[in-house]
Amino acid sequence: MAIGERTFPPAAAQPGTLQRFWNSFSIIFNSKVGTLGLAMVLFWVLVAFVSLFWVPYEPNANQFVQNLPPNAQNWLGTDHLGRDIASRLMTGTQVILLKTRLPGGNVSIPGGVALWGVFGSLAMGVLLGLNAGYRGGWADQIIMQVLDALIAFPQIVLYLVVIAALGQGDLVVILAIAITGAPGVARLARSLAMDIKTRDYIRAAETRGENTWFIMFREILPNARGPLLVDAMLRVGYAIFAIGTLGFLGLGLPPPDPDWGTMVNEARKNIFTNASAVIVPSVAIASLVIGLNLFADGLREELSRYQK
């Protein structure tokens, strides 16, 4: 095969995992929309990291005049308790993106509530979806009927049910997001599994007598990860939105850490005297969600495009 190797240089110089990841990731820069989305998301991630080490003022200290408009001292103004909005906004990114506070004490685990929530719905959804899609028949019927029933509930009602049953807390919000997101992920995973299970390599695994779980998680799942990843990206956006909604309803992430949705909720009583206290966190939520959406769109576009 001397010729075969001449036309295709052997992959002797194996790129490292990091290099490979970067190679596949860098396709996002081909899409302007995707790059813009990525920039918006990265901006908030950066803000979150900066807030770990430095914020302009103590976010929970009411040390200023109440309801100040933006000025040189308080860049984004102050809220109805005289707290610096810029500092609260910055700290607010942490609970979404960087840390989850465990109940009973000051212990936090890395990864924000939105990320863990989406991870939870991915795990549940993939498990159910792969089983439904690959096994088919009765397993499929039962799993999908239950999930369809879940989808039939309005999401807000589901959130309320979960939180009313389990009380407030970061973990409860994660659970609520995970449960409401799981049916959607499951449907996607099911359709992907149903497509992939018709491929010959699955037949080959079956004729090898492979375990059902091996086929689902080792043979099917790796080939479904592209669409699932894009979907997860969108879901992080929805989760942030959901956290905002819960905060607005007064059921969101508990104090003391500031939370964007709660900020909007508290400031809306003074909306006519101090509009910026409502607008600023709303814009923050919107920009992060839109950024994630654009990023996911760009990613999907580039992944599905014909590649040379």
């Binding site: 095969m1 001397a2 010729i3 075969g4 190797e5 001449r6 036309t7 295709f8 052997p10 992959a11 002797a12 194996q14 081909n30 491929r199 010959d200 390599y201 037949r203 080959a204 079956e206 004729t207 090898r208 007598g209 492979e210 043979e219 790796p222 080939n223 495009r305 014909y306 590649q307 040379k308």
Partner: protein, 707 residues
């Protein structure tokens, strides 16, 4: 030769393409799909374009009608249609032309016809829009044209939807539609590739006939040398975006001039040749990607005659004394018939067939596979409707002797794949038994012992789905070894490398992902994976159907070598009769789930024949214009397996039925008996043995071309 027209009647060519180059813009650059293509087509002539996949055949056709997509464009050169320059024409002008004077027929008729419109409406539209004819007149002409392409009951077909007629009939409708406007140029892009061989034969007859009657210029694109030999006057061979040879059909097959054309001729098995007496010579290497085509002659890395001149200077397409045009510096010095295989190519030693009484490793007894069909009526929803079944495999019994190859042939939908899937356990048999190495394996796959699974592996058809895209070659070949524990964990890597070596893939392939492999390489890895557990029996489901001929030859040689070295038994499914004949020791011919004929390969391909085998053989396109072939064309299409014909399933289409009393009444009423000859040759037919023996051979070759 620049000015004089090659057309016999001195009329200007209908289509004249000069120095055409087409490029596609892709991410990070351009792909030069086609370059330096020059040819012309005269009235009443069929010009064939052949070549392997990715050689730019279709791109040439699309560039004529400017269907290159958003990212393709004609880089330079000219396309003159009836003296008119087409390059640079705007959309509206081209659209007029396409409908009025240029027509296209594509590979898949189902996609060319609108599924939600009646066929009549679609046909009439051509005339009412382009010719401005009245409804009634258009209807009349459409019906006449359908009759012209031998559609049974044309007036009735006008009112049907595309899904209500068979694939062959659909293609006839598409051809009829293309001819309605009496186009000056008809472009056919692999029009019979998606059809079964018996249907293909009838469509090819039709195309050849229409060419005479309509005086149309036809550009016929195909990868199949046999098909081109049947319908074309002149042939252009394309390789890697260039036309490397242009000659009349007779010259191309008798005296191919370009080393690539010669290579192609050598890697197709001739119908009637087998592995004991002839050898396939694959072309080494593969078609280069457009982005790294070599300098000099584009073919030089794969050529056996390469000299320094070939590497330095790109040859031009130049005329030879015998009228052929060839793009080769050395054409005069190369003699097709003097060729010796280069030492780089491995020629497998075929296993000499020892006594035929080797004990059977696999025995299939009265196997039946029915698939239940869900009905749509309300009664079916409540489970009260009549249960209906697709009778995919009906009462099949056969034996595979150890160390031999059993070939299974038949048209699509005849149950070949179902048979194999049932044997390996992917489908559960409805009734019947499969006995493998003395064990009954007709139960479910999950109940089968690991030791038995290890001995029974499968090679799949589609190279693109045979490998899991997420894992490297090494991981995928190593997995069966790990799973069956045939090799200690630490030695797996070495063992995989050894296996890769045997597949003629270097150690560099170990860490490659499937997307970095070509189709032939993927198929080799698929074979390696099947062999990783050292099985005794490998089932091959059309392993070479999706591959180009030069790659196909290499894979067939590889399988033969494995068989010679390891003594593996093979069951080999294919729809290509020449490949099966070449490769198998025993052949089973299937029709609608039943075996029609079974026996040693040479006995199947010579009389006595089952009438179905006879029809199949006479339909095979042979890459040799001088071969004489009986002209038997089956009527209609394969009946539905939901409701197969009673008695002999073939009786509805049988052309020999009239030889029996009462016009073969018995065929419709009773299951035929097995007529037996020596060496286990059996024919499932009511015709008495004497009559079956009286049929003459289907193919008679006059010249012995090739090696």
């Amino acid at each position: 030769m620049t000015d004089s027209s090659p057309c016999s009647n001195n009329s200007p060519p209908v289509l004249k393409i000069e120095e055409l180059a087409v490029s596609y813009k892709v991410r990070g650059g351009e792909v030069d799909a086609v370059q330096n293509v020059t040819f012309e087509i005269c009235r009443g002539e069929t010009f064939g374009v052949v070549g392997e996949s990715g050689c730019g055949k279709s791109t040439v056709a699309w560039s004529i009608v400017n269907f290159l997509g958003a990212n393709g464009y004609v880089k330079h050169g000219s396309i003159k249609f009836q003296g008119q320059e087409l390059v640079g024409k705007t959309g509206e002008e081209l659209r007029r032309l396409r409908g009025d004077q240029i027509a296209m027929v594509y590979q898949d008729p189902m996609q060319a016809l609108n599924p939600s419109m009646r066929l009549g409406e679609q046909m009439k539209e051509v005339l009412t829009v382009h010719r401005g004819l009245s409804e009634a007149e258009a209807e009349k002409r459409s019906i006449a044209m359908l009759g012209r392409v031998y559609m049974p009951d044309p007036a009735d077909v006008m009112g049907r939807f595309p899904h209500q007629i068979s694939g062959g009939q659909q293609q006839r409708v598409v051809i009829a539609m293309a001819l309605l406007n009496n186009p000056a140029l008809l472009i056919m892009d692999e029009p019979t590739t998606a059809l079964d061989v018996t249907v293909e034969a009838a469509v090819l007859d039709l195309i050849a006939e229409l060419r005479h009657d309509f005086d149309t210029a036809i550009l016929y694109i195909s990868h199949n040398l046999g098909v081109v030999a049947r319908v074309c006057n002149r042939v252009g061979v394309m390789y890697a975006g260039e036309m490397v040879e242009k000659a009349t059909v007779e010259e191309i097959y008798r005296q191919p001039q370009h080393p690539y054309t010669q290579g192609l001729m050598r890697c197709v098995p001739r119908l009637g040749s087998d592995k004991h007496e002839s050898v396939l010579y694959p072309i080494r290497g593969r078609v280069p990607r457009p982005s790294n085509r070599p300098n000099g002659c584009i073919y030089h890395p794969r050529c056996d005659y390469t000299q320094d001149l070939c590497i330095q200077k790109r040859p031009q397409l130049r005329p030879l004394p015998n009228g052929s045009w060839v793009r080769c510096h050395l054409a005069e010095q190369i003699d097709f018939h003097d060729w010796k295989p280069s030492e780089e190519i491995h020629i497998p030693q075929s296993v000499q067939s020892t006594a035929a009484d080797a004990e059977p490793i696999l025995e299939v007894q009265n196997l039946q596979k029915y698939y239940p069909v869900k009905g749509n009526s309300l009664r079916d929803v409540f489970g009260m409707g009549e249960k209906r079944y697709v009778k995919a495999v009906e009462d099949v019994s056969l034996q595979v002797p150890k160390g031999k190859t059993l070939g299974v042939v038949g048209e699509s939908g005849c149950g070949k794949s179902t048979l194999v899937k049932t044997i390996i356990g992917l489908e559960e048999p409805t009734t019947g038994k499969v006995i493998f190495q003395g064990f009954d394996i007709s139960n479910e796959l999950s109940e089968r012992k690991l030791e038995l699974m290890k001995e029974l592996q499968m090679v799949f058809q589609n190279p693109d789905s045979t490998m899991n895209p997420s894992y490297t070659v090494g991981q995928q070949i190593g997995r069966p070894m790990e799973h069956f524990k045939t090799v200690p964990k630490k030695q797996i890597r070495d063992e995989v490398l050894k296996l890769l070596e045997a597949m003629r893939l270097g150690p560099g392939y170990y860490d490659r992902l499937p997307r970095q492999l070509s189709g032939g390489e993927k198929q080799r890895v698929g074979i390696a994976r099947a062999l990783a557990s050292h099985p005794n029996l490998v089932l091959c489901d059309e392993p070479v159907s999706a591959l180009d001929v030069s790659v196909q030859a290499a894979i067939l040689n590889l399988l033969m070598e494995i068989q010679a070295n390891l003594g593996t038994t093979l069951v080999f499914i294919a729809h290509d009769l020449s490949v099966v004949r070449f490769f198998s020791d025993y052949v089973a011919v299937m029709y609608l789930g039943q075996i029609m004929e079974y026996g040693p390969a040479d006995a199947i391909y010579s009389p006595p024949y089952h009438p179905y085998t006879e029809a199949l053989l006479s339909a095979v396109p042979i890459p040799d214009p001088s071969a004489a072939q009986k002209n038997i064309r089956l009527q209609g299409s394969v009946p539905s397996a939901l409701n197969p014909p009673s008695g002999c399933r073939f009786h509805t289409r049988c052309h020999r039925r009239d030889l029996l009393a009462d016009g073969g009444k018995i065929c419709a009423e009773q299951t035929p008996p097995w007529r037996k000859w020596e060496h286990g040759h059996q024919i499932f037919c009511h015709l008495p043995a004497e009559i079956l023996e009286s049929f003459g051979p289907v193919i008679t070759t006059t010249s012995q071309s090739g090696v």
